[in-house]
């Protein structure tokens, strides 16, 4: 059997991903335990065979058979020419990042989980696993050169 525990602090940290009124990428379900339950049910082998990485954290990248939420990051290829023309720099938690304001919602079937070695949930978010942001926006990065954050208009 697989058990994952969610601390009060983690729940607070995850609130923007679950409360529809707060900005940011969103899960369609209301509570993290609902998505975790479905993940454990659909992908038991991925959980069972997962091992902690060098930093002591477990990382799981799960592809659900249906959209599970809205991604906060989008590939530039998916933007319209008009949207591409509106890409701008914005402050994100003290760091300058490229983002685009749009009313479009980019659904995702992907979910990223980060857990401690003893199966405490550290974070989860909808969308693909992105590498760390470069220190400066003009620094080259194979991923971030082709992706931007979404700023919902």
């Amino acid at each position: 059997m697989i058990s994952i525990s969610i601390s009060y602090q983690t729940r607070e940290h995850l609130a923007p991903h679950f409360h529809q009124e707060l900005p940011g990428s969103k899960f369609y379900c209301q509570q993290p335990e609902n998505l975790l339950e479905e993940a454990m049910r659909l992908f038991p082998e991925q959980f069972r065979q997962n091992h902690p990485e060098a930093d002591g954290r477990r990382r799981l990248s799960l592809h659900f058979p249906h959209p599970i939420g809205i991604s906060g990051v989008v590939a530039i290829d998916e933007l319209t020419p008009e949207e591409r023309s509106r890409i701008e720099l914005a402050d994100r938690q003290g760091q300058q990042v490229r983002c685009v304001a749009t009313r479009r919602l980019f659904e995702t079937t992907e979910c990223q989980l980060v857990l401690s070695a003893d199966w405490q949930l550290i974070t989860m978010f909808p969308g693909e696993l992105a590498p760390p942001l470069p220190a400066r926006p003009d620094e080259p990065s194979a991923y971030w050169d082709r992706h931007v954050f979404i700023k919902w208009a």
């Binding site: 059997m1 697989i2 058990s3 994952i4 525990s5 969610i6 601390s7 009060y8 729940r11 335990e33 609902n34 975790l36 339950e37 479905e38 454990m40 049910r41 038991p44 959980f47 069972r48 405490q120």
Partner: protein
């Protein structure tokens, strides 16, 4: 982790509902279980060559067989769960030390095969959820059985919505007949369902510790482990010494208050004998007896006792309360072990106390009534004697008559007060 090569179970309880078999006949979701034919291997005639006819009649319906009027209601209805709805994921959510814990039994192969309703005399209805979890890891199996039998654990653990919805969907045919539409209040008596489980492992011998862990729905390895649920040596030995039933090397049974577990080796345990014969013919009988006694004893303690208890017990004594049910040794041995595990003897002793108390009260009332008549009789004799001695010529003696009347009146008052005090007791 070890997995079961066969695992089939029934979760049994008294139904928290009221209905007549005729109501189910009109419900397309329910069907009457096939009545046993007269002939054939599993036929009535063959069963009666193994079990006493009275016992078979008390437990099963057979084609064209007349039964005593008291047993005429004994019947069995079944709702077969559609194959696409049988798989129920078992996930729970609990709060421990301020953390929300989501748990999924990913190695648990639960299928709910059928819901059974068994009608017995004296308005008793038992239900059974028939499940199959062959191929499950033993730890998931014990946890799954524990969760299902307890439905919702008081320690803050409850089924995840997905599990609850799936279970509610499977159990929906029961809902119209429940007193309380909440499925968690399915059970009419007690706080959990009783578990009858048949498990086979690919081993050459039955290990007592595994049998204990399965029977108590404990974590595998807990007997020899060091957890807060590890049983004390004395308790474990007492259970093993007193509650194991065994006749052949290929299996061992453990009869407890909340479960009966049979664990078989790779040599086979004839699963169909356990699920098709020993469960409906023996375990259900013991559970019915326990349910009857428990409900009457509880009613007595809660001042809800029925006045016809003695006649109910007399009927139960005649049709159910006897220790030998078969010409063969094994059914008798199993029944006696199951009855011991369920504590039926103790419940019956409690019932007997009630009947004795009622008899004592009745006897006292009769004695009191006789006393009243005796006082009048003595008074009349005394009056006649005195009259013959003092006034043999039939003259009026008003003062004397008044004295005798007063004496009689005082006597009557004393008896009435005595009776009143008896009733208060």
């Amino acid at each position: 982790m070890q997995t079961s090569s066969y695992s089939h179970a029934f979760l049994v309880g008294s139904l928290n509902g009221r209905m007549k078999p005729s109501q189910l006949e009109a419900d397309p979701q329910w069907g009457e279980a096939q009545k046993i034919p007269f002939d054939g291997m599993a036929g009535y005639a063959n069963l009666c060559s193994i079990y006493y006819k009275g016992h078979v009649d008390a437990m099963l319906q057979a084609e064209g067989q007349d039964r005593p009027r008291f047993l005429s209601c004994v019947s069995h209805y079944v709702h077969r769960v559609a194959a696409d709805a049988q798989q129920v994921p078992l996930s729970t959510v609990s709060v421990r030390d301020g953390n929300t814990v989501v748990q999924h039994l990913d190695g648990y192969q639960l299928r709910i095969c059928a819901i059974h309703l068994y009608f017995f005399p004296l308005d008793t209805i038992l239900f059974a959820l028939e499940i199959d979890d062959t191929g499950s890891e033993l730890n998931d199996l014990t946890m799954g059985h524990f969760l299902l039998a307890n439905w919702c654990w008081e320690g803050g653990m409850c089924f995840h919505d997905n599990t609850r919805n799936a279970l509610s969907n499977v159990l929906s045919p029961l809902v119209p007949y429940l007193k309380d539409e909440l499925l968690k209040n399915l059970i009419g008596g007690g706080n959990k369902m009783k578990l009858f489980q048949v498990i086979q492992l690919e081993t050459s011998a039955v290990a007592d510790d595994t049998l204990y862990e399965l029977a108590t729905s404990s974590r595998i390895g807990s007997v020899n482990g060091d957890t807060w649920l590890t049983p004390s040596e004395q308790y474990y030995q007492k259970i093993i010494d007193n509650n194991i039933v065994s006749a052949f090397n290929s299996w061992k049974g453990l009869a407890l208050m909340d479960s009966f577990t049979v664990l078989g080796t790779h040599n086979g345990i004839r699963p169909e004998a356990w699920t098709n014969l020993y469960f409906p013919l023996i375990y259900l009988r013991a559970v019915f007896e326990k349910t009857f006694c428990f409900s009457r004893n509880n009613a007595y303690r809660e001042d809800r006792a029925k006045s016809n208890l003695a006649s109910e017990i007399a009927l139960m004594e005649k049709y159910y309360f006897y220790d030998n049910i078969s010409y063969n040794f094994l059914p008798n041995m199993l029944y006696q072990a199951m009855a011991k595990g369920l504590g039926i003897k103790e419940e019956r002793e409690e019932l007997s106390k009630q009947v004795k108390e009622k008899e004592d009260t009745n006897n006292s009332l009769i004695m009191a009534a006789i006393s009243v008549f005796a006082i009048f009789s003595v008074a009349f004799d005394f009056y006649s004697l005195m009259k013959a001695w003092i006034a043999p010529d039939d003259s009026d003696l008003p003062m004397f008559a008044l004295g005798v009347s007063a004496l009689s009146f005082l006597g009557t008052i004393t008896v009435v007060l005595y009776l009143t005090s008896l009733r208060r007791r």
